[in-house]
């Protein structure tokens, strides 16, 4: 299927944006920034989906990922010692192996994309993608769709159980301590007895 030149240009720009922002996720100093880089990557992919005439999926990508990354940013701030990104941050393990694995996966999948023969069946001209998706969701694949809904509900219940304050053995945060600055050190950010001001670990 041939697209007009302008579509190709936009695709190239968006593909670059998606890959660059996806890569920046793992080499920026602040986790909040990282989650918003990921959001940019998702938005770029969403626009590419709209270019492919999957109008509902592309737009759904925007609002799903906007909310998801917002929540992610909040969790980042909760769990990071360096949420503002004022200090350099590089928390990795098995770095060389991971780079090699990432490159290997790209090469293998890229090879599959370039070398194998896929059938060339473009969209029929009279197809309405949104209506076709709606008919599928509430028609033939209703069971799958509804199961996804049930699984989401189960997830909600499970998440509340896992993270709720009251458990079988009393309040969940009882005896909970923030981690020390060095392994095995004193808990950070806890005000000392009689020390009104306290000291925080994230200035």
């Amino acid at each position: 299927m041939d697209y007009p030149l302008i579509v190709d240009i936009f695709f190239l720009l968006l593909a670059t944006l998606a890959v660059v922002s996806g890569w920046r996720v793992f080499c920026t100093d602040s986790m909040v920034r990282a989650s918003f880089f990921l959001l940019v990557s998702f938005i770029a992919v969403g626009v590419i989906m709209i270019l492919l005439t999957a109008e509902y999926l592309g737009v759904a990508m925007f609002f799903m990922m906007a909310v998801e990354m917002m929540v992610m940013a909040i969790f980042m701030v909760m769990f990071m010692m360096n949420p503002a990104g004022l200090n350099p941050m590089m928390m990795v393990h098995q770095h060389k192996f991971s780079i090699a694995a990432g490159v290997a996966i790209f090469v293998v999948l890229g090879g599959v994309a370039l070398l194998s023969e896929f059938p060339d069946n473009p969209l029929p001209a009279d197809l309405d993608p949104v209506a076709s998706l709606g008919n599928e969701l509430l028609g033939d694949s209703m069971l799958i769709f509804e199961s996804a809904g049930i699984v989401l509900l189960t997830t909600m219940i499970g998440v509340v159980v896992l993270s709720s304050h009251r458990g079988r053995y009393g309040a969940a945060e009882e005896g909970s301590m923030p981690p020390g600055l060095e392994p095995g050190g004193d808990p950070a950010g806890m005000p000392e007895e009689g020390d009104e001001g306290g000291h925080h670990h994230c200035h």
Binding site: S30, F36, L39, V59, F62, F63, A66, M70, A73, D128
Partner: protein, 308 residues
């Protein structure tokens, strides 16, 4: 083709956005003067002098902000307002972006606005701005949910997610009468997502300006302009979702859309001046316990009506 599909929509959206934002400031000043708040200068000139004054001011700097995000956030909010206005149909043929899922696109504008407002407060690296940002995130989710349910209710009789179809489906009866709960709920969402008047919790006085507390100069001007522009875009969406958009006797369609937008804006600004600010905790309760169930009722109402 390129004139009709690219240049004309861009010009239309820009003009409506700029003129609309100016009118928001003018109407707000007039309402304030009528309610007895002393105003400096005339209502027509005051926004311009204020804007010119902000332009000449020096841009503030805080300690180690995230410069790129801080400077970009107001512009991004303005871009979101433009995106939102671009889905509003001005007549059956004059539609800047006639996406088949434009109702969902407006929903994602609301979701992305949460991100941008958080970014604006977070990147300044100051305390009050961050509190304002967190407040908006805590509330933003409930705004998105309410508006989503209300808009699904509008899409039901139209059997389409396209605003032009939504307007066309109101030929016989406007949605404001067909679904009486819809417009009031949607107006509350509008005040919330532009943090205007009673729902101004992100940029409120008790936080010394909240996310905008440390912003001055041109970027402050862009931020205020973007808030007003978002209110304009919102009024356009409300006019086409509930007030029948271009439908109306005697006058041409685009004029009707503008008049309805002005009406929605006047109501919103009056509400913004008349109602006191809600406490953040109470606002969360109000949204989740009262307004969200009401939006369910609205959706059920719309569904039953579509079946009958």
């Amino acid at each position: 083709m390129i004139v009709n599909e690219l240049i004309l929509p861009v010009i239309l959206v820009t003009i409506v956005l700029v003129v609309g934002a100016y009118l928001v400031a003018v109407i707000d000043g007039m309402i304030a003067a009528a309610l007895g708040t002393p105003q400096r200068g005339g209502a027509w000139l005051a926004p311009l002098t204020q804007g010119a004054w902000l332009l000449t001011q020096q841009a503030n700097a805080t300690e180690a902000p995230d410069w790129r995000a801080w400077r970009l956030a107001p512009a991004l909010y303005l871009a979101l307002a433009a995106t939102g206005l671009a889905v509003v149909p001005f007549s059956p043929t004059l539609i800047p972006t006639d996406l088949v899922t434009s109702v969902v696109l407006w929903g994602s504008v609301e979701a992305l606005a949460t991100v941008v407002i958080f970014l604006h407060g977070w990147s300044a690296n100051t305390l009050l701005a961050l509190i304002g940002a967190y407040r908006y995130v805590a509330l933003g989710l409930s705004y998105i949910l309410i508006s989503m349910f209300v808009l699904i209710g509008v899409a039901l009789p139209a059997e389409s997610l396209q605003f032009s179809q939504v307007v066309a489906s109101q030929e016989g009866l406007w949605n404001v009468i067909r679904q009486p709960l819809g417009l009031p709920l949607f107006l509350i969402v509008g005040l919330g997502m532009t943090f205007w008047g009673p729902f101004n919790l992100a940029d409120s006085r008790d936080l010394a300006g909240g996310t905008a507390s440390t912003v001055s100069g041109p970027s402050r001007l862009v931020w205020e302009l973007a808030r007003a522009a978002m209110l304009v875009a919102f009024s356009g969406v409300a006019a086409s979702a509930f007030l029948g958009g271009w439908l109306g006797p005697w006058l041409p369609g685009p004029l009707w859309v503008m008049l309805k937008m002005l009406g929605v804006l006047a109501v919103l600004l009056l509400l913004g001046r008349l109602l006191p600010r809600v406490q953040p905790e109470r606002c969360v309760t109000l949204m989740w316990v009262v307004l969200l169930p009401l939006s369910f009722v609205d959706l059920i109402w719309a569904g039953v009506e579509a079946l009958l």
